[in-house]
Symmetry: C2
Subunit: 274 residues, 2 copies
DNA sequence: CTAATAGTGTCTATTAGACAGTATGTT
DNA sequence: AACATACTGTCTAATAGACACTATTAG
């Protein structure tokens, strides 16, 4: 091995092809909350927890659904690539974005070795100014989970996507699970894994952070907020307990929401939110 | 654009150099607990929280310290690469390993574009059968943190490494911080960031998981366990409260630890551990 | 009036914090 | 005996769970 006297000298000689090179992409899991049906004039709209998927029109995985994503440019940070893609494809700016996990199975892309770093984004759908592209669609998420597996159903009104994952305990001490896809026919790549990982991350974080508010409009009732918690956690909460927990995160406004066929509700907003 | 009739046909034609390619490495943050000084025959050994660093003997960053790591092979998952490196470099097998974060600053490696996925490993130092390589050394970790910055001092008995990071609030709702290196002269690459991220992750997870036990020997006293919690959390805990919290995670054994110049202590072990 | 949600009061059970006290080894 | 840690008891404060109750609107 040649001896170098300085870092500059070493770098001048360096051959960047000494090691295997590969491609890197990012996949973005965009979560939001949708309004569902209203059974009758008295009832509230059902809330749904939903994810944005895009229909692929090219190979590989032509006609399957996938997460918005794309290749990282040679001089770009992954997070910046995620932001660029969000802006280019959906005109989404300044939103909550968090790195989720880097997937590296050598066979995850049939074209070649592609590694993907996934991000989770949370948005309030109603803030989207431009409509999303024709290829993209919001799917409501329904999760059934037990100790051994997770069944996820995604529905956009037209089409239903179902997939099933096996949970494999990867560390008893941390109660960490890895997922293995055991049923999946409509999702491209390993995106079923990404969705499951994101749902689980969000479920966890909603309990000890304020990230829900990224999915809420500026003004909301506590009933609406509670519905969002319930739909993400997959369980009913008791009113007084819920109100106690979020009491110091929100503040009352002068506004009221009326017209519901029942007692009007005070509109709140996230505290310290400008 | 050419029209393809099937995925097979498309893949046959695909040129993998269509997108920029880059190199991927993994850096592994190996944490453990070390015994420090014993002031006098009555006192317990001080426990320290420590990290394994390697002295670089080649450019770039010659003579600086760095985390053990290496390049991902073209047909290998990142986690498998991390396991391979742990085994090759330190003869460490079957330990707790968790993906931390993927760093992608275009300038993090002066040679070329290298992206790195970091992993955190937790081990019981005393279980290491072969001694670690001459280039590697355990550094005790001392952290001083306030709202704006983090000061970390690493010490292996011979050498002291200090670095300072600025905390930048990246999301108010999630209380997520990003770090920016403002002082660092002895650590290679962006490894100061990795260490800070790992410390923060461990501090969090120790409160709601059982991962500490990966750093403990099979039999330990509750005093020793408490010391480990204290040194990682950076604060003293009250005995009765601590014992209540870990009560259902550990189980008493018949063994006792004697010889300490004070009342002997019952040895416990992690419950359901084998 | 009725159905439906909004919002509060309160009792109980559980958990966390604090401190004081007792126990028991080595030198 | 003295020191240092091991271990427990108990009081109090804070938090979580459960349920019942009152309030208020559109139709």
């Amino acid at each position: 091995m040649k001896e170098y006297k300085s870092e500059e000298e070493f770098l001048k000689d360096y051959n960047p092809n000494e090691f295997d090179r590969l491609s890197l992409t990012t996949d973005i899991l965009i979560f939001s909350v949708s309004d569902g049906l209203q059974e009758n004039y008295r009832k509230l709209n059902e809330k749904h927890f939903s994810v944005l998927l895009v229909k692929r029109d090219t190979y590989p995985f032509k006609d399957k659904w996938c997460l918005p994503g794309g290749f990282i440019r040679i001089d770009e940070e992954i997070e910046d690539a995620a932001k660029r893609i969000l802006e280019d494809e959906a005109n989404i700016k300044n939103i909550y974005l968090e790195q989720l996990y880097t997937y590296s199975n050598p066979n995850r892309d049939p074209r070649m070795r592609v590694i993907s770093t996934s991000y989770m984004a949370l948005i309030d759908k109603n803030k989207l100014t431009n409509s999303i592209s024709k290829k993209a669609s919001w799917f409501n998420i329904f999760v059934l989970e037990d100790k051994e597996e997770i069944n996820v159903t995604l529905d956009n009104g037209n089409e239903t996507i179902k997939f099933k994952l096996k949970k494999i305990l990867s560390s008893r001490t941390a109660e960490n699970y890895k997922y293995e896809i055991i049923e999946n026919d409509k999702l491209a790549f390993d995106h079923a894994l990404v969705i499951a990982t994101g749902i689980s991350r969000l479920k966890n974080k909603i309990e000890y952070t304020d990230i829900v508010f990224n999915m809420m409009p500026k003004y909301f009732t506590l009933g609406e907020l509670q519905q969002v918690y319930e739909v993400i956690l997959g369980k009913k909460l008791l009113d007084p307990a819920f109100r106690r927990i979020i009491a110091n995160k929100v503040e009352k406004t002068e506004k009221m929401k009326t017209g519901g066929g029942h007692r009007p509700s005070v509109l709140f907003r996230y505290k310290n939110n400008d």
